[in-house]
Structure formats: C-alpha cells, structure tokens
C-alpha cells in the first residue's frame, strides 16, 4: 500500500481508503472529512520533516496528487508510514 493510503487508513480508521477510493478521486468530494485532510497534511509534515505551504495545498486534492507531491520532494515511495 502507498504511504498516503497507509496514512489515510491510520488517520480515519477507515480501511476502504486502502482500495475503495480511486487515485484520481477528489478526496473532499468522496466524503472525506476536512479535519482529516488537515491531519493528513500535518502527518506528512511530521513524517517528511518538510513544510507543506498554503500554496502547495491548492494542488492537493487526490491521492495521486499527494503521491506526486511526496515524490517531488524526494520522499515519495521511500516514505513508509509507521
């Protein structure tokens, strides 16, 4: 499972994030709580040690966006959620 999916399952306790939400689905529109999206970003910051800016957030709506973001920061596939 990708790092982002693992984090989402960890944060929401909802196993369907492992396979029930498509890579390109808008997470907000798919019913994810806005507070959980905030926690996801804070968890990414904590795990990668890098800041996510307000500008970065504008481009992050899908799991694929988050995966690309991590990859671009050089922490993508190598970042294993604990």
């Amino acid at each position: 499972m990708s790092a982002i999916r693992t984090m989402l399952v960890e944060l929401t306790g909802t196993p369907e994030f492992a396979d029930g939400v498509g890579d390109d689905e808008d997470l907000s529109a798919s019913g994810m709580d806005s507070g959980d999206l905030v926690r996801l970003v804070l968890l990414i910051e904590e795990r990668t040690g890098q800041e996510v800016s307000a500008e970065d957030l504008e481009g992050l709506t899908t799991i694929a966006d988050y995966e690309r973001f991590l990859a671009a920061r050089g922490t993508g596939t190598g970042t294993e959620a604990r």
Partner: protein, 512 residues
C-alpha cells in the same frame, strides 16, 4: 434595521477602509454597502420577496456575506447550509425552511441537482456579479443558471427603502438540537443587534481590528463575525480551514484577532509554517464551540504573545452570550483543570435550573438556561420542539449542566443532552444510531463519544448486526445519510446493545 444600519454607518464612518477580505479579493465598507444594495435590487428583480427563504450553499467567501446582507435588506431570510451535508440532509433543510431559491458555488450546486427550489443562483456565474447592475446578465445553462434576470434600470440607494422592522426574521440557522432531528433556528434582526451590542460593551471590538475568521459562515458562530463587523473591524474569510491558510492570512493581513475552535488552534500550532510565520500582530485569540483543552492552552501560551477570549454560545440564544476575557484567563504557572465558560454579556441572563425548572442558588449544579433579547423566535415551523427547549418562563435550555458562582461565572460540568462535540461540531448520537439502524443487517446500535486528542471527542458505534456484516459496508451506508463529521471513527460489533427495561441504552455499561 440592524444589518442595514450597520453597513450604512460603516460606509459613512470608514468608507475606504477594508471591510472584507477573502482569498480572491477585498472590499471597502463603501463597496460592500453599495454592492449589497445592488444585489438586493437584483435578487428582488429575480423574484425574491420579503419573507422568502433563500438557502446559501458555499465555502466562506465575500459573496456569502453580500448575499446575507442583501437578503436582509429586502426582508428575505438567509438559510446557510453546511456544505459537507449529504444530498438528503441538504434537501431536508431546504424543504424544512421552504426555501424558494438556493445561492451557491457551482461545484456545491452540482452536488445537489434535485433541490425543490424555484431558482438556483450561482455565486460564480457572471449573472450573479451582474445582478442589480445596469447590464444584461449572461444567461447560461448549467447548475448556476439564473433564469429570467431582467435588465435593470439605474437605481438610487433610496429605491430599496430600509423598511424591514427589527423583529422581522432574518435567518434560519440549522441545528440538530437535543434530539438529533434537524431544526431551523429562526433569528430576527433584533437578536443580531442584541448580541452585537452586548459583545461591543464587554469585548470592545474596534475599527482598527482585523479578525481572521476560521469558522464557517453557515454555523451559528458566524454571529461573531457580524458582531466584529458592527464595530467596523475587517473580517478575513478562509475558504475552509487549513492551518497553513490561516497562518498565511494572519501574516498577510497583519491580523489582530483570530476566531477558531480549540482543535483548530492545536492544528495551527503543529503546522510547520507556524515556526516561521509572523504572529506578533495578534492581540487576541477568540475560541469557542468546544471546551479548551489545557494542553492546547498551555502550548498556545508558550508560543504566542497575545490574550485569549473564550466564547460560549448557542444558536438558539442568538450565538455568543457568555465570554471569558483575556484578563480572566490564568497564566501558565497556574493552570486549572478546566476554565469557566465566563460571564454573560450585558443584556442576556443565565440561571441554573433544577429538573422542576426552579432557580438554583450560587454554586448549585443544574441545567444552564438563558433568556434575553438575543434568543430565537423559535424553530421554524416546529412549535413542539420550541416548547420542549423553552421553559414556561421563556428560558432556553442549553442542555449543559453546570453552576453559576457568586461572581457570575458559569462553570460547565456535564451535559444533560446526549451530545458529542467533535472539533466544535455537534454530533447527536441518536441521529447516527437511527442511520445505522436503517441498514437492513443492523438490529440495534449505540453511539457514544470517546476522547480524541485532535478533535476533543469522536463518535464510536457499537452495533448488533447479522453475522458477516462489515464496518466498511456500514460506513458506506452512513456516507449516503450523514455528513462526514457525524460518522463514527470506529464501529465495533457486539451481540446485543444493552438496554434497561424501559428500552434506554445503557451507555455507561458500554463505556465500561
């Protein structure tokens, strides 16, 4: 009437100062006043009349407040809707209020194509910007189409006379109240005025303040922004809360005040951007909708050089009616287990009542009840629910248990109603239980709140269901019926939900 007078006065006093800022633009008081009047003309030309209800479905942006003020100007009621609600929940709110129109953002309107309204008006359609102006609005198909908007002649400001009386209803604000069944709280102009004047007297907002509003404008807490607007303060709106967005807004606007839920403050202090953002302009942080956990308060005291103001309110009494000011907050070396909610603002009264609705003396625990000119006119079209929440002497029951000490401080100790407060949003277990029981495989369900570091509390569901039923299957079912914040964080399966002989769920047994 109050909301119109507020804009006119600020236009006269501070015409060129900034009134509103969002992530797209800003408006001066003069521009806001004039645009509101234009929009009032435009909405009237569409066909909206005094007494009509208009649903508003949008993230926070300037156009939302423009719409509230414009509707108030023509005597129509704004009905803000939580944009995270499911189609069934939104349709229920629209039907309950009898809204004739819905005004909203395209994406949100598209999620609710079947609403029973006469007009669907997009905030993003050029036709919206043209409403009330001497221009032919662009008619277009799609979710935001404004049908039949006529070309309007030039109009003067006096052409929409301010004839709406202060006791006319101004808004219907949705709440699930004590039973978990959604209700519309009807608030009049006098209520907004009473809360604003009481707040102005005790918290003394001024026209040099810049308030970053992190709370949604669909919530009863939007009264805080209206109150600071009354003082001429600048209000900065966020299109949904993110700590990064809030921090950026504070720095960019040199904010002096911040209005949020305690859990938002936790997120804000945890964000990496907080380490480099200039927060030195902040004078006061207003927090409310949930108790302040002492660990968040202690962290904020360490990190921020500003005062803190607690806001305790309830939609049914007009919003914020109690506050604990900066001078009443303890220093870092004398932190209590919890803080009192504060004292009532001038004009509002609070009492602790016993189960027979008799007033209790100082320090005696009872249900905190409130009365005053801020309180609602009642639940829209629901006299029975209004009677239930009101004592025969006209006091509104908050559902909070607590006591009032000799100095007038209200201390909350428990809740008499079954309620979970998740990051400032109320979740009624009975509503979630009903939704779970509507699944054909579920025999019974019980929902209770469990402590959570990030949200304060989150719902946990215990479900008795047919063998083979999965939590994922039930979560999918709930996703059709309930907004995300109401859904249980965890579902646990049990053989039977424990109930007493009268059928009441024994939640203490479940808590272990």
């Amino acid at each position: 009437m109050w909301l119109t007078q507020l804009l006119l006065r600020n236009r006269q006093c501070f015409p060129d100062r900034t009134a509103l800022v969002d992530h797209r633009r800003s408006l001066t008081w003069s521009q806001l006043h004039d645009r509101t009047l234009e929009l009032a003309h435009g909405l009237a030309a569409v066909g909206i009349r005094s007494g009509d209800r208009v649903a508003v479905l949008s993230l926070d942006r300037i156009e939302v407040l423009e719409t509230y003020f414009a509707l108030a100007r023509i005597g129509a009621l704004f009905v803000p809707l939580n944009h995270s609600l499911t189609p069934a929940e939104v349709a229920g709110a629209v039907e309950r209020s009898g809204a004739v129109a819905v005004v909203g953002e395209d994406e949100l309107l598209a999620r609710h194509p079947e609403l029973p309204v006469r007009w669907r008006i997009s905030l993003e359609d050029p036709a919206f910007a043209a409403l009330g102006r001497d221009a032919e609005p662009t008619a277009r198909s799609g979710p935001g189409h404004v049908p039949g908007v006529p070309r309007l002649p030039d109009v003067g400001f006096d052409d929409v006379p301010d004839t709406v009386p202060d006791d006319a209803p101004a808004a219907i604000l949705h709440t699930s109240a004590t039973t978990g069944l959604a209700k519309g709280v009807t608030v009049d102009h006098a209520s907004f005025r009473a809360i604003a004047l009481g707040w102005l007297a005790v918290a003394a907002p001024t026209d040099d303040m810049v308030l970053v509003n992190c709370c949604p404008l669909y919530h009863g807490s939007m009264v805080v922004s209206l109150t600071y607007m009354a003082a001429g303060a600048t209000i900065v709106l966020l299109p949904g809360f993110t700590p990064q967005g809030a921090l950026e807004a504070i720095e960019a606007n040199r904010a002096t005040h911040l209005w949020l839920v305690p859990q938002m403050l936790r997120f804000l202090l945890h964000a990496k951007a907080s380490e480099r953002t200039d927060l030195s302009t902040l004078r006061e942080i207003l927090y409310g909708a949930a108790p302040m956990p002492m660990d968040i308060y202690a962290d904020a005291l360490r990190r921020l050089d500003c005062g803190f103001r607690q806001v305790y309110g309830m939609t049914e009494v007009g919003g914020p009616f109690v506050t604990l000011g900066p001078d009443e907050h303890p220093p870092a070396d004398r932190l209590p287990e919890s803080l009192p909610a504060g004292r009532v603002i001038p004009g509002m009264s609070a009492r602790a009542l016993d189960p027979q609705d008799r007033e209790l003396g100082p320090d005696a625990i009872g249900e905190i009840c409130v009365r005053g000119p801020g309180q609602m006119r009642g639940y829209w079209g629901n006299a029975e629910a209004t009677a239930e929440i009101t004592t025969k002497d006209g006091w509104i029951r908050t559902g909070d248990l607590g006591f009032i000490d000799r100095e007038g401080y209200i201390h909350l100790v428990d809740r008499s109603k079954d309620l979970i407060i998740r990051a400032g949003q109320n979740v009624y277990p009975s509503e979630v239980e009903r939704a779970l029981r509507s699944h054909p495989a579920v025999r019974d369900a019980a929902v209770l709140g469990i402590p959570d570091a990030d949200y304060g509390e989150v719902p946990l569901a215990y479900v008795a269901a047919q063998e083979g039923t999965t939590a994922v299957e039930l979560q999918r079912h709930l996703a059709e019926l309930l907004a995300p914040y109401k859904r249980p964080r965890r579902i646990e399966f049990i053989d039977e939900v424990p109930r007493n002989p009268a059928g009441k769920i024994l939640k203490k047994l479940l808590r272990g």
